[in-house]
Amino acid sequence: MLGLWTAADKLLRGKWMSREDLRVGRLEVRTGVLLAVGATGGALYGAAMGLFGVMRPAHATWKQVLADAGKVPLLFLLTLAVAFPSLYAFSALADSKLRFLETLKLLLVAIAVNLVLLASFAPVTAFFTMSTTSYSFMVLLNCVFFALSGAISLAVLSRALHAVYEPPASNSTASSSAAPAKLAHDDDKRLHSREPSRSARPRRVFYAWFAIYGLVGSQMGWILRPFIGAPGLEFQLFRERQGSFFEAFFEALAKFLVGR
């Protein structure tokens, strides 16, 4: 337990993502540690989120607490499992210094930061759950905490990606391993004089990752619902699988716009 606490503290302080290490495409942390920290953080927040199921007047049950303790970490980790091949492809396409395992570690660091931050909000969520009966308020509060922790972890990820594309401090003249074949022209040096913009690459990778992870994550959240447990409904581990997050969103938006 103390080990997990220390690991979470190191994670938040960025000890495993030093700029020097990232510049040479290295992350000095074990995947297992990141998984353990992330899963524990997610389980803590999930338990707090599921408390609403215990407190609601009808169909009160502890099962919602247990279900959410599993579902919150699963939401993030299963999303990564589905999206990782394409996330890695976009990273390699942008000629990232991070190889396969290091890319996985970086993404796990961002997810673990997100889940540990969520866990830090767990006492607040638990307190409000015990002091309110409004389901809508709890939905909004949870959305705010997910958005806040998500935004911070995205900032951490963005900063790390920019460091990955910086030249190594010790060897700023290191060249790419790529050895372009000779062009038909005589002035090859001039041909290769324009290096692709290094600052644009991390931004592009970040946006691609954000789009793919966001797309899969939204749908994963949709199929893992309910997380809070609406009053008046009996406990369900999962709702019936149909439609998608986006269809439900646009349907709700259309209803709102036509005033129904």
Binding site: V82, A83, P85, S86, Y88, A89, F90, A92, L93, A94, D95, S176, S177, A178, A179, P180, A181, K182, L183, A184, H185, D187, R190, L191, H192, S193, R194, P196, R204, A208, A211, I212, L215, V216, Q219, M220, W222, I223, E240, R241, Q242, G243, S244, F246, E247
Partner: protein
Amino acid sequence: MNATLERLLRSEREFAAGAGAVPVGALALALVLGGATHGLALGSFGRNAEQALYSALKLPLLLGLSTAMCVPSFYALNAVLGLHRDFTAALRGVLCAQAVVAVVLASLAPVVVFFHASGVSYRGAILIGGALFCGASLAGQWTLARHYRPLLAVNPRHAAPRAAWLALYWFVTIQLAWVLRPFVGAPGMRPSFLREHAWSNAYVALANALLGS
């Protein structure tokens, strides 16, 4: 295999920008395998093995045939503009970009399967498939830009054939995708390699849909 794909995505060694021999075999293999993987995933909607198999055959066809149809005019335009000396380098770029599109499509296959398994509607599946195809095509542009950068540095006239390639490639791909449909397989319809009346015009159908005739 993994190392080759990684070199392709990173435009390294045999896939680097330049005028060396075009590694046609490796690029064709990546295009066929990548396209087939994504095709299998697209055809998995409705859990029909026959449709999945058809889509796995059709997606490499879509990528390969659209490229093959556009290369002659690409060469002609390069020649007319006096850029024929750089044609091998430009062709390397175009073919590497197409192979990258296929590899990125393959890497997106788990996302497609996940959405199909999570109960998305037919219309949702079509939209997701279309959006991911656009995303993979943009990834291909990344590779094309990397190959064209040294060419443009020497002669800015290269911008014209590159723009023409993009315009023609999209024009042809949209029509070819229309002819080769269905890729997802509509519920209630028999699995088929091509739809009845496949040889119609996507642009005329779009105009009719918009104008209501």
